[in-house]
């Protein structure tokens, strides 16, 4: 009660003074009337005092007074007389004492109250601090927990604990702002499973929400509310709005079963808690929103990371592949790439089946390059799709939730039905904006492709396109490189072979070297067959790295000679001029062969063969045969053109060698001819110029000095002129005959008496050559011969001149004329150096001069040639023969004249 206002206290003291004054008045009045009843005075005093103090001691004093008065009254004790002073004193003092007593007592009480109050205030302060700390910690908790539900529950527990309430609840404003929903409770209400809705404006919480201030109610029954709290038999309640930045978030309530009056501090604290709570709730809600956003973001990020990770993985794979392509060309092929793409596809996007399609080279069709999860039947039927306007070029992804709804897919609908495919996602594989293929996902249950799937699948498709393209490029590069290498190898071979082919003009040597060079670079075996003039084949070269095998092959060839009429092998190739490739030696091929030969072929491990013709000037001059066994890979079509080229070069080499040898021969002949010609020219010059010199010189001497010469000299000079002129004539005749007469020349003949003509010639010779004896012997009765007499004379003269030139002076020359079978035979016999059998025919060649006789005499070497031509032109023959006892016989026959 110490809390009463000062004004009340003064009023009360004033009232007490007024009463005391009234009692004094009454006592004075009673005293004046003679009724001096002390009892009443005492009683009145006591009553006044009691009333004035209004407190226990006063009541006790009043009670003692009243009791004493009653004892005096009923014991009829005589009270001592009280004089007026006493009474006046009593009347005055009593209230004073009573007042002082009361005041003292009041002061005491007040001091005690103040002390108590101070203690209490301190406690409250401490509790408040503690609670504030609690609230701080709650706030901290709130900020750390950030899970609204947990947070509120925690807070409510703390509130119950701090404020000593039996329950605490939080109502949150609904989204539309019209209702409050009990969100969380602690204490007794926590047990309830219901979370009632309270319209704003109704109920206790509703009222708090509307009034937006903290309200405490000691007795819920005293207010006009319908509250669930009542049902819970809650008596006292306080509530505070949850306001955050003037926005109503909800309502916080706390209630006790026991009636309780909440102090303003408690209410204030409660409000404070509510403020904090509002902030926490707001934070929490924000956090929740943030968190869900964050979760969404995180999920999206995670998804993206996953995609990126996969892309990285793919990238890594591709990088690996591309890197590997550099060093390991062999391992980078599309067949390995495609399953990898399918595998990656299944990693990226869950589907029931996968396929990689590509547009073929001429862009006319889609080919399924690889697949997973599709039945063999489907693959058989739908592995190729013609590109038509309907089946399109797939410029963009095709996401078909229902395959039956797409025109482009209608041709394959039946296949999809059988296959149970409901949805598909076809992602174009593009290189530089051009669709080169598609990565297709098939779904057996309806599937709506998500953006992510489209994106990730699209990326994979593009990566796959890049990979396939890279693989294809690598493949092309590999092929090109392999071709270039093969070409290089071959060019190297040709480079090695070419000089070889021209190194030697002995083509057998050349071909052997070529064959050696060919193994094992081109094949395991190499052999060359060359046709001779008769078209018969001869193996001129066989090569294998192992010389023992070469021997074996030669032996084999001896045992199994190739039939020139064979329908296979080199005979066939030489006939048709076409190469013959056997890429694989099959059993069928061997079936026609001899059993032992089959055995040999097997033992040698012969696997493939290639025979090419050696063609020169459009005809076959042989064949080049290549055979592979265990060292060299089997021969293919790719080897044919090269082998043909090699064959062509080898043929050229053979032909060159042959031509060269012909040329060489011709050259030698020409050289010889030239030498002969040179010599002939010299001889002719000599033979002609010598007599001319004599004739001319003698004529000049006779003309200039004729008068100084004696007769003998003059005569000799003139004789020389005549003789040398005749010699000139004969030489010229001989030369003319040689120039005019060829082998077909026929002389007009006439009947000639040969023995007479011989004798005439001999006589003339004797005159011109007086030192030489010439004996003519002729059988009697010889018939006439057919001859041309002028030429016959020339022949005889030539033979006589020769005999004279080449035989010693003292040996006579004999001329025999005899009859042969049907001819007259004339023989000119000398004792000269004779002839060797080897010279017998050559003697009659023009310009031939025997080395043995060259030193003996000059001459042009035409005499005998002229004789031969003249005799043969008359249809007869001429001969030379050594004589048994030395010397030479030159003879000729002349046909006997036929009897007309």
């Amino acid at each position: 009660m110490g809390a009463l206002p000062a004004a009340g206290r003064l009023a009360r003291y004033a009232a007490a003074l007024a009463i005391v004054a009234a009692a004094i008045g009454v006592s004075v009045a009673v005293w004046h009337t003679g009724a001096t009843n002390t009892l009443f005075l005492l009683l009145a005093g006591a009553a006044l005092a009691a009333w004035a103090t209004g407190r226990g001691p006063g009541l006790l004093a009043a009670s003692v007074t009243v009791g004493t008065a009653l004892v005096f009254r009923f014991a009829e004790w005589e009270l001592p007389d009280v004089d007026a002073l006493s009474i006046a004193l009593f009347v005055v003092v009593t209230p004073v004492i009573a007042f002082i007593t009361a005041s003292l007592r009041e002061s005491l009480t007040r001091a005690q109250d103040a002390e108590r109050e101070a203690v209490r205030a301190q406690g409250i302060a401490q509790r408040t601090v503690a609670r504030l700390r609690g609230v701080e910690s709650i706030t901290d908790t709130a900020l750390s927990l950030l899970q609204l539900e947990e947070l509120l529950h925690e807070l409510l527990n703390r509130i119950c604990e701090s404020l000593g309430t039996d329950t605490a609840s939080v109502f949150l404003v609904s989204e539309d702002g019209t209702e409050l929903r009990e969100y969380s409770s602690a204490g007794l209400r926590e047990q309830l499973n219901e979370h009632p809705l309270v319209p704003i404006g109704r109920g206790f919480a509703g009222r708090v929400a509307v009034e937006r201030r903290a309200i405490a109610v000691e007795d819920l029954h005293a207010i006009e509310v319908v509250s669930t709290l009542l049902r819970e038999r809650m008596m006292s309640v306080m509530g505070a709005p949850l306001l955050y930045r003037d926005r109503l978030v909800g309502v916080l309530t706390a209630a006790t079963v026991q009636r309780r009056s909440f102090s303003p501090e408690e209410l204030r604290l409660f409000s404070l808690v509510a403020d904090r709570m509002a902030r926490a709730i707001d934070h929490a809600q924000l956090f929740t929103r943030m968190q869900s956003t964050s979760d969404e973001l995180r999920a999206a990020l995670a998804e993206r990371d996953e995609v990126i990770a996969r892309n990285d993985e793919i990238q890594a794979e591709l990088t690996l592949l591309v890197e590997a392509s550099g060093g390991l060309i062999e391992s980078l092929d599309i067949d390995k790439m495609l399953p990898r793409i399918l595998h990656l596809s299944s990693d990226v996007l869950q589907a029931d089946a996968y396929a990689v399609w590509s547009v073929n080279a001429d862009g006319s069709a889609w080919d399924m390059r690889a697949s997973a999860g599709l039945s063999p039947e489907y693959l058989r039927q739908f592995a190729r799709i013609a590109v038509t306007p309907d089946t399109m070029r797939l410029p963009q992804p095709l996401a078909a939730r229902d395959v039956s709804e797409h025109d482009a897919l209608k041709e394959r609908l039946a296949g999809y039905r059988r296959e149970g495919i409901r949805s598909l996602l076809a992602l174009p594989m593009q290189i530089a904006g051009e669709t080169t293929g598609s990565l297709t996902f098939y779904f057996r249950s309806p599937h709506e492709a998500s953006d992510l799937e489209l994106r990730v699948g699209g990326a994979l498709a593009n990566l796959a396109a890049a990979a396939l393209n890279s693989s294809r490029l690598n493949e092309e590069e590999r092929t090109a490189r392999a071709e270039a290498e093969a070409l290089n190898e071959r060019l190297n071979f040709l480079a090695d072979a070419s000089p070889l082919l021209h190194e030697s003009l002995d083509y057998e040597v050349t071909l052997n070297k070529l064959a050696q060079l060919a193994v094992p670079r081109l094949a395991d075996w190499c052999s060359v067959i060359v046709l001779d003039e008769n078209g018969e084949g001869r193996t001129v070269a066989v090569a294998h790295v192992d010389p023992a095998k070469v021997e074996f092959a030669r032996e084999l060839q001896g045992r199994y000679p190739t039939d020139p009429g064979a329908e296979h092998g080199w005979p066939q190739v030489v006939r048709t001029l076409q190469p013959q490739l056997i890429p694989e030696v099959t059993d069928d091929l061997l079936a026609s062969l001899d059993e032992e030969l089959v055995q040999i072929v097997r033992e040698l491990g012969l696997r493939s063969s290639l025979v090419v013709p050696l063609i020169a000037r459009d005809r076959a001059i042989g064949a080049l045969s290549l055979v592979t066994a265990d060292l060299h890979p089997p021969l293919t079509e790719a080897d044919v053109s090269f082998a043909m080229e090699l064959g062509r070069r080898a043929a050229l080499a053979i032909e060159n060698a042959r031509l060269y040898s012909q040329l060489q021969q011709l050259f030698e002949e020409l050289q010889a001819a030239s030498a002969v010609k040179d010599e002939f020219l010299g001889l002719v010059s000599h033979e002609l110029r010598t007599p001319i010199t004599s004739v001319y010189g003698n004529a000049r001497v006779l003309l200039q000095h004729g008068d100084l010469l004696d007769d003998e000299d003059r005569r000799d000079a003139l004789a020389d002129i005549e003789r040398e002129s005749d010699r000139l004539r004969r030489i010229i005749e001989n030369l003319l005959i040689l120039a005019r007469f060829d082998r077909t020349h026929v002389l007009e003949t006439e009947p000639v008496r040969v023995e007479r003509l011989v004798e005439d010639v001999a006589e003339r010779f004797r005159r011109s050559t007086p030192l030489r004896a010439v004996h003519v012997s002729a059988v009697g009765g010889l018939p006439l011969a057919e001859a041309q007499p002028t030429y016959l004379e020339l022949v005889l003269n030539n033979l006589l001149t020769n005999a004279d030139k080449y035989s010693p002076r003292d040996e006579p020359i004999e001329i025999d004329v005899t009859r042969g079978h049907d001819a007259i035979e004339v023989r000119v016999l000398d004792r000269g150096v004779g002839v060797l059998p080897a010279e017998l025919t050559e003697l009659f060649s023009p310009f031939y001069r025997s080395n043995r006789t060259r030193e003996l005499a000059g001459g042009m070497g035409i005499g005998l040639a002229v004789c031969k031509r003249i005799i043969e032109a008359q249809g007869s023959r001429i001969w030379a023969a050594p004589r048994p006892d030395g010397g030479t016989e030159f003879g000729f026959s002349l046909p006997i004249q036929r009897e007309e």
Binding site: S685, T693, Q704, D713
Partner: protein, 117 residues
Amino acid sequence: MRRASVLVVDDDAAIGRMLRLALRAAGYDVTLAANGADALARTADGDADVIVLDLEMPVMNGREFYRRLRARGSHAPVVILSAYGAERARIELGAEAAVTKPFEPSELIAVIERVLR
């Protein structure tokens, strides 16, 4: 004054006779040889002042004779006389002069006079 001597080496007797007539008429002493061997024999006692040498001869040809003559230490001037390749032979052998057949006797005499100077 002594008459200059000329050795004519030629297998052709008619040429030899003709040259003898012509050279004698020109005031030379003339000796004839039918071939190289003959000529070597005829020059054994002493060289002629000039040797007129045919190339194509039996037994020993002109070239052989020339080599032997020079091998023997003779410096007698030699006039090559040939129907064919006389100048070439002169150069090859290193002879003093060459005359190709046929020739006029005065042509040869002029050459002989020249080589004698």
